[in-house]
């Protein structure tokens, strides 16, 4: 059978960066083909060439056995190639239907096009189990449904080949599962799916074939059924990788942070954290598991002093903090030896426009070690940053580079280095490995365990259940703003998943 897509010797450079080196790839029709690789391996560049965002310097593209030129995304669509981007390209205050039609109105008169589109949308929804209310506003939809609209958009334009770029990054486990079901239906209906991801679990769960990229090269292609996560990880990183974290049992010490009856209200007046109480002891990692959006973010931000609570008490190292007081701010919390690695490093943890060394002092810039009086001691700051770069293997090892130029994993290391190197008694960590490649995940996990072994208290929030289960000594499950139970990390994934979904709440108590 003619392959859906064939890429031959595709080569692409950006200045000095050789992003794709003579890539060959064959994607069979009616299959789900995964492409894995660390961040910066060249996956996105390759897909952008296929979708017409970039032009290859060399090589050729065959769609359905025919050689084609794809100078822009319009041509890609004409050849039946559709793309679902990592960051959705939807107009927030338009309805689903309007978004689907946008750019494919079919004639100047909107009315007829829209009526036709409505019928088509219904057919697609029935055929592929892609049900979305066509008249709902995008901004009112959860991300999982917004993604579905993106898929509908591509199908509406007649896509036979669907490219999904890191589609699960924003999804809850349940939403991801639903997405995979949809992808299987699409495949069974004869569509071809290209799935780009760095999550090996997803590759194993849903793909038929998987191609592995490393540093701009296509290093291998395997039948999914004939490979293993360990093999894929090795191929991606180019060396053996530890997927499980080695962690010796450790008896926790005294309590360093205790939280009692913490309630947080958001700007809409809704209680997002409800009566939360727990203790955090020396030498333990406490994991808070939960589907994203159940109050974990607000909890960690309140503990870090960014948000204010409406009720509750916090005690850190014997010092009482009233989290309802307006004069509590992150610098006061930091002064109590509480460090915070925020969930979203781009939005909160870093100023990506700054040089690396400038981010190395964010939040600690008033520290006399970085300059006396009003002035900054640039040399001292750069020296400290260089030390952290070496210790945390941050690459490229150049503190005079803009932070935006570092990969996700290295950016995360910058944040971690900054927070850990202050030797805090308590470390609050949110989503430490989100958008981070495998090599860096391993490093970050090891570092957190070392810190625990050194007797620090760590509060870990993650939507990756695997991560919580492998790192935490105790798992607290959060649902709808409240802690619904505590489980040991060995607990069955299914049971935790049910608790995270709010089922079995009574039983959990």
């Amino acid at each position: 059978m003619t392959p859906a897509i064939e890429l031959k010797k595709i080569d692409k450079s950006f200045g000095a960066v050789h992003a794709n080196k003579a890539i060959d790839l064959t994607v069979a029709k009616g299959s789900i083909h995964g492409i894995v690789g660390e961040n910066g391996a060249g996956k996105s560049t390759l897909m952008s060439i296929l979708y017409g965002f970039y032009q290859a310097d060399e090589g050729e593209i065959l769609v359905d056995g025919k050689r084609v030129d794809i100078p822009d995304s319009k041509t890609a669509i004409a050849h039946g190639i559709g793309m679902v981007h990592q960051h959705f390209m939807l107009v927030e205050n338009f309805t689903v239907l309007e978004n689907v039609v946008l750019g494919a109105e079919g004639g100047g008169l909107l009315g007829r096009g829209v009526a036709k589109a409505r019928a088509e949308l219904k057919r697609l929804a029935d055929d592929y189990d892609l049900r979305v209310d066509p008249d709902a506003l995008i901004e009112d939809l959860p991300v999982g449904l917004q993604q579905r609209v993106e898929i509908l958009k591509a199908l509406f334009r007649g896509a036979d080949i669907l490219i999904l770029d890191e589609p699960t990054g924003v999804l809850t486990p349940a939403e991801a599962d639903h997405l995979f079901r949809i992808l299987r239906v699409l495949r069974d209906e004869g569509k071809t799916v290209l799935l780009i991801t760095h999550k090996l679990r997803e590759i194993m769960a849903v793909t038929d074939t998987v191609s592995i990229m490393r540093r701009g090269e296509m290093v291998a292609t395997r039948k999914t059924a004939e490979t293993s996560m360990t093999e894929l990880a090795e191929l991606m990183v180019g060396r053996r990788v530890l997927l499980r974290v080695d962690k010796a049992p450790r008896e926790p010490g005294r309590t360093v942070m205790s939280v009692r009856d913490l309630t947080v209200r958001d700007s809409r007046g809704v209680d997002v954290v409800k009566n939360v109480s727990f203790d955090l002891r020396e030498g333990e990692i406490v994991g808070i598991a939960g589907v994203s959006g159940n109050g974990q973010s607000q909890l960690i931000e309140t503990l870090a002093g960014i948000r204010h609570a409406v009720a509750g008490r916090i005690e850190v190292n014997g010092t009482a903090v009233d989290p309802t007081r307006r004069d509590i701010d992150p610098s006061r919390i930091r002064a109590l030896s509480v460090a915070h690695v925020p969930e979203d490093r781009h939005r909160m943890g870093l100023v990506t426009r700054f040089f690396e060394y400038e981010n190395a002092i964010l939040g600690y810039h008033r520290d006399p070690a970085y300059g006396k009086g009003a002035f900054l001691d640039i040399k001292a700051i750069r020296d400290a940053a260089r030390g952290e770069i070496e210790k945390y293997d941050i690459r490229p090892p150049n503190c005079l580079l803009k932070t935006a130029n570092f990969s996700g994993g290295n950016q995360q290391k910058i944040v971690l280095a900054r927070e850990i190197e202050r030797d805090p008694a308590v470390l609050l960590v949110g989503q430490p490995t989100r958008g981070v490649d495998i090599g860096a995940i391993e490093f970050i996990h090891r570092r957190l365990v070392e810190l625990r072994d050194a007797g620090k208290a760590i509060l870990l929030i993650s939507v990756e259940l695997d991560e919580i289960r492998s790192l935490a000594d105790r798992v607290l499950v959060m649902f709808d703003g409240a802690l619904v139970g505590e489980r040991p990390p060995e607990t069955d994934e299914g049971e935790l998943g049910l608790m995270m979904a709010g089922v079995n709440r009574e039983a959990a108590e």
């Binding site: 200045g15 000095a16 930091r334 939005r347 426009r353 300059g371 009003a374 900054l376």
Partner: protein, 368 residues
């Protein structure tokens, strides 16, 4: 790999040069359209502003104003604040300068008056920026709206003061009495041996302006406050995370900005006019926005952009003298084109330039 990255020399040298060339090209077409020779017009403009001592003096005199107002806008930019109230802050700065000069000029030499004038200008400008700042910080009223409203309030207040309170008796002019020598800054040509700027009012304020450039550079890139200002401007959420108070930074930055704008009055009032008069700011505050944009909010860039606008002001006046067909409004059109190309359309040539430079790169990379 970030898209659209340019080497530094292209970003800071080639891009502005291209933009400027495009601006002059467009202006040339306009000049051609009204039936004058564009090459000659450029000649007059350049000669008029740089070709003779007095022209240079005037160019630098205007540049001094722009440096102050440009720095004011730039400092606010770094905190992500758009202070377009430089006009009003400078106007009030004039009040500060005038009060210092009127109080002291009869008793002490200028160098005693100067620190008080600087203080008065900065304090008055800062005070005028304080209210919009506090409204932004506490109430979320956008500074763009409030500062522009404060420009009007400043104008009303100053007219009231000049007409009813400070005017010298029996004069038609809404203006104060002329300062005695104790309230006048020396002209640069009287201070620097051998310098000759003709009758241009180029005065010691230029030195003050350059000192402010250095101070602003140090503030923004070498102090903890500057670090906080930049953090707040680049990522307000990260700033809160870092324990930086948005209220404090907004108010402090706006007051520094207002203070710098106010200091423009030292050049006009103490350096040139030697009296406080109505509407002396006449647009310098607004041009400061363009200067800060062109100068990329960096003191060195601001100095260069200020000289460019000084040239346009001085050379433009010469042009209007020499070519009656090129009116004052035409000069404004040309200035507008420069702002358009260098400010608003700053990135117009960027994609093309990136592609052009990238085209030369792969071969070099492969060879290496």
């Amino acid at each position: 790999m970030t898209r659209g990255a340019l080497p530094r020399w292209a970003d800071y040298g080639l891009m502005p040069a291209l933009n400027l060339a495009a601006a002059f090209l467009a202006s040339g077409l306009v000049v051609l359209f009204i039936g004058e020779n564009p090459v000659e017009a450029v000649k007059i403009l350049v000669w008029g502003s740089l070709g003779w001592n007095e022209g240079i003096g005037f160019t630098l005199f205007y540049a001094t104003n722009f440096i102050f107002t440009g720095l004011a806008v730039a400092v606010a930019f770094h905190a992500g604040l758009f202070n377009i109230g430089g006009e009003g802050q400078a106007y009030l700065g004039g009040l500060g300068v005038a009060l210092a000069c009127l109080a002291l000029d009869r008793y002490v030499p200028w160098w005693v008056t100067l620190p008080f004038a600087v203080l008065g200008a900065a304090a008055a400008g800062a005070a005028w920026a304080f209210v919009p700042a506090i409204l932004q910080a506490k109430r979320g009223s956008h500074v763009v709206i409030t500062t522009i409203m404060f420009n009007f309030i400043a104008a009303s207040l100053m007219v009231y003061l000049l007409v009813n309170v400070m005017a010298k008796a029996g004069s038609m002019q809404p203006e104060t009495r002329t300062f005695e020598p104790g309230g006048r800054l020396p002209f640069l040509q009287d201070v620097i041996p051998g310098a000759d700027f003709g009758t241009a009012p180029l005065n010691l304020s230029l030195i003050v302006a350059l000192m402010c450039c250095m101070a602003v550079w140090a503030l923004i890139w070498r102090t903890k406050l500057g670090y906080e200002i930049r953090t707040f401007g680049a990522n307000p959420v990260a700033a809160v995370y870092a324990g930086i108070s948005p209220v404090r930074i907004t108010v402090v930055t706006m007051m520094i900005s207002g203070g710098l704008a106010g200091m423009m009055a030292i050049n006009e009032i103490m350096g040139s006019q030697h009296r406080l008069l109505i509407e002396f700011v006449s647009g310098y505050g607004f041009v400061g926005i363009a200067v800060a944009l062109m100068g990329r909010a960096h003191p060195v860039g601001i100095i260069l952009a200020s000289i460019l606008f000084g040239m346009l002001y001085q050379g433009g006046a010469e042009l209007a003298f020499e070519k009656p067909a090129i009116t004052r409004d035409m000069i404004v059109v040309i200035q507008g084109l420069v702002i358009l190309f260098a400010g608003a359309l700053e990135h117009m040539f960027r994609p093309g330039l990136v592609r052009l430079l990238a085209a030369f790169r792969p071969t070099a990379a492969q060879a290496a």
